[in-house]
């Protein structure tokens, strides 16, 4: 037994599945999967696992497809919004399939503990028509990832493993099984399977549709257990109650009903098993749906069952559970108590003296952080140049939105700062400023800057080069120091208007003057604000 985070259990399973590479871009709550494998590969070079962070999620996913092409297994890791970036190769990969097993572990963040949104990756798997595992426990994380590699090669399809924050970052003992042999290196021989030209794609799409029947058969198996309990007492208001439950919600369900539980179907593999769902519905008057994220099962099943049944579902769509935010054992208990199936929990309100003593404690930029000095510069600049819209981006520096900094006015998704600033400039707003971190620039700032450079768009881009990907725990950044400078010049920005400043109090006045001059320039300028993250020095 090993004590592992859900993330680490996925990583261990990938190692034991004989992967040749792990491919990813950092993002909470997925980062530890990659880092676990990276550490193991470093400790034991005999594993021969390539573990280097990619520039972004699209690159990572495509690398994995290359490994698959030559017959090797590989894992891809990212957070949910990363799949937006990797969506193009992901959706298309369903058509080319897989030679070596390819597993994408994508971690969703219900309640947005550290994300811009709480999008649900199960929709992506459904959209691409690919199988998706959803573990409930750390042991599931291990077992399902092993199964995912096996299924990927058996059906020649990429396979998704969907995680959520609470499972990714929860620890429990996991039992490990025997490692698999590494596949031999053997490039794909069937060229027609790897080139998506329309005439070939039509055939491949038909193949993908045919495979859906195999997926359904898979889904009716033991991985999605149906437990019938006709003796369980009925609800006075809703009659016989059944439960469809997936992922970590299953743990909350069993917390409420540790021994005697209502009839239930635990969904660990999508598409959901329709025959089992029907069997449950036939035996029940009402079916509660417990799922983390969007009402995916509730909506999908509602559609699939139309005409056969008029299921009385209770879930997020019906208001039985909240529409947004993560579930908790309390919410699940309350939902069953409202049907009279378990004792209501005592209402726990924060006492008045406690309420009066509490203050929020949000994260802040570290004392001595280079971003603090950069935002001081922007503040000073905005005192003399008004209005000056500042388009921000994602990283530690996003905290600069809040007082006392208030150095950025917008933040959307990785790389958007540069393109949004350009759009504003194109629309006639002058001057405009974009603020982006070094790792984010490497992730998706380059293409925006290329576009601006070709047009010499009047705007200023500040790149906050702190030598690392700090926000997610200081992973390697691909666009820092000299390589960053070379990239900027290589994209065609006028060298006269590429400046480096050092964000330190003693340089403040001089830095502000440089910024003022570049913001006044009627063309594209880049100011690199360069000083290492103070966490790196430790």
């Amino acid at each position: 037994m090993k004590l592992l985070l859900g993330d680490e259990a996925v990583g261990q399973a990938a190692i034991d599945s004989g992967i040749a590479s792990v491919n990813g871009y950092p993002g909470t709550p997925s980062t530890e999967i990659f880092e676990y494998i990276e550490a193991a590969a470093k400790k034991d070079p005999g594993l021969r696992i390539h573990a280097e962070w990619a520039a972004n999620e699209k690159v990572a996913y495509e690398q994995a497809l290359g490994a698959s092409y030559v017959g090797q297994r590989s894992l891809v890791t990212m957070k949910h919004v990363g799949l937006n970036v990797a969506a193009d190769p992901f959706v298309n990969s369903a058509l080319v399939g897989a030679k070596g097993g390819i597993v994408l572990c994508v971690a969703d963040d219900p309640s947005m503990h550290s994300s811009q949104n709480e999008q649900d990756s199960r929709y992506y798997a459904q959209f691409a028509k690919l199988p998706c595992f959803e573990p409930a426990t750390q042991q599931d994380c291990y077992d399902f990832t092993r199964l995912a590699f096996e299924l990927s090669e058996r059906l020649s399809l990429p396979v998704v493993v969907r995680m959520v924050t609470r499972l990714a970052h929860s620890r429990a003992p996991v039992s490990i099984s025997d490692p698999a042999m590494r596949n031999p290196l053997s490039p794909a021989e069937d060229r027609n399977h790897w080139a998506l030209l329309p005439a070939l794609s039509r055939k491949l799409y038909d193949e993908l549709l045919m495979k859906q029947a195999l997926l359904e058969k898979e889904s009716e198996g033991d991985v999605n257990p149906l437990v019938m309990n006709p003796a369980f007492p009925s609800s006075a208001t809703c009659g016989k109650v059944g439960v469809i439950v997936s992922g970590i919600a299953y743990n909350y369900f069993r917390e409420v009903f540790p021994k005697d539980a209502p009839s239930h179907l635990k969904v660990g593999l999508y598409p959901a098993p329709l025959q089992k769902v029907k069997a449950l519905l036939e035996a029940c008057d009402t079916v509660c749906i417990l799922e983390e994220g969007y009402p995916f099962l509730e909506q999908t099943l509602q559609g699939q069952l139309q005409g056969h049944f008029a299921p009385q579902f209770k879930g997020r769509l019906t208001g039985h559970l909240p529409m947004s935010g993560e579930l908790s054992p309390d919410l699940v208990a309350r939902s069953f108590a409202s049907l009279g199936l378990c004792d209501p929990l005592p209402a726990i309100d924060e006492a008045d003296d406690v309420k009066a003593a509490l203050r929020p404690r949000p994260p802040k930029l570290c004392p001595g952080c280079p971003h603090v000095d950069t935002y001081r510069m922007i503040k000073a600049l905005r005192e003399s140049v008004q209005p000056l819209p500042v388009f921000g981006d994602i990283g530690c520096y996003t905290l600069g939105f809040y007082p006392p900094h208030q150095g950025i006015d917008a933040c959307l998704c990785m790389g958007a700062s540069i393109s949004m600033a350009k759009g504003a400039s194109d629309a006639g707003q002058r001057p405009v400023l974009a603020v982006i971190g070094d790792s984010t620039f490497g992730h998706s700032g380059l293409t925006g800057l290329l576009t601006a450079a070709r047009e010499n768009t009047p705007m200023t881009v500040m790149i906050l080069d702190n030598s690392t990907t700090a926000m997610t725990g200081a992973q390697k950044s691909l666009e820092t120091g000299d390589p960053l400078m070379q990239s900027i010049l290589g994209l065609g920005v006028d060298p006269e208007h590429v400046k480096i400043v050092c964000p330190l109090p003693q340089h403040h006045e001089a830095n502000v003057e440089i910024l003022k001059a570049e913001v006044a320039y009627e063309g594209l300028s880049v100011v690199i604000s360069r000083r290492a993250c103070v966490k790196l020095r430790k």
Binding site: L3, P29, S170, A172, M471
Partner: protein
């Protein structure tokens, strides 16, 4: 046996190291464990907490229900109060006395009054940590002070603490073990 604990503090105070030590002591004892933590942006002085569940029977939920925790163990007094809604009626708060005042107008009196009203066990962890040789080991002092309430003996923690600090050398191991034992003795005194 069933023991549900919320460990809390501010990013950088070593809350997750405390959890690590308890987890491994529990593994060695053969307890069932689940320990759920929120990583994310904790490195920048935000609130950190972890739900730690120990039992001699399998554990289902990774999260503790409100009104059912046996203990809140906190490195910071306001953070201790933040989780009182999770405590069961006879649950106990064990907290370090030292506030981390990285927020505006920290209501210290109100915090201490609310803790006293709940008969919290307040430990001067910083002072004992300094006595051990480094204020950074305050988390080990607090752990030592808390274990008399937990289903462990002090000896269960020797190995986990040693492995936690092994990469920092034998002096760091000795210092942290000393801090831990000062915490244990401080409670018994």
């Amino acid at each position: 046996m069933r023991c549900d604990v919320i460990l809390a503090g501010v990013g950088g105070q070593g809350v997750l190291s405390m959890a690590y030590a308890i987890d491994h002591a529990a593994m060695a004892r053969g307890y069932f464990i689940k320990q759920s933590e929120l990583h994310g942006m904790s490195q920048r002085g935000g609130a950190v907490s972890t739900h730690l569940r120990l039992s001699d029977a399998p554990i289902e939920s990774d999260l503790i229900c409100k009104g059912s925790a046996d203990f809140v163990i906190a490195m910071e007094p306001m953070e201790a109060l933040r989780y009182t809604a999770f405590l069961k009626p006879k649950g106990l708060i064990v907290t370090s006395a030292a506030p981390v005042k990285n927020i505006d107008d920290y209501p210290l009196e109100a915090v201490m009054a609310a803790l006293k009203a709940r008969s919290a066990h307040i430990v001067d962890a910083d002072a004992l940590a300094k006595e051990a040789g480094s204020q950074k080991s305050a988390n080990l002092v607090l752990l030592g002070a808390a274990i008399r309430y937990l289903p462990f003996d002090a000896g269960d923690f020797e190995a986990p603490i040693a492995s936690l600090f092994a990469h920092k050398g034998s002096e760091a191991v000795a210092l942290n073990l000393k801090a831990f034992h000062l915490g244990v003795e401080g409670t018994l005194r």
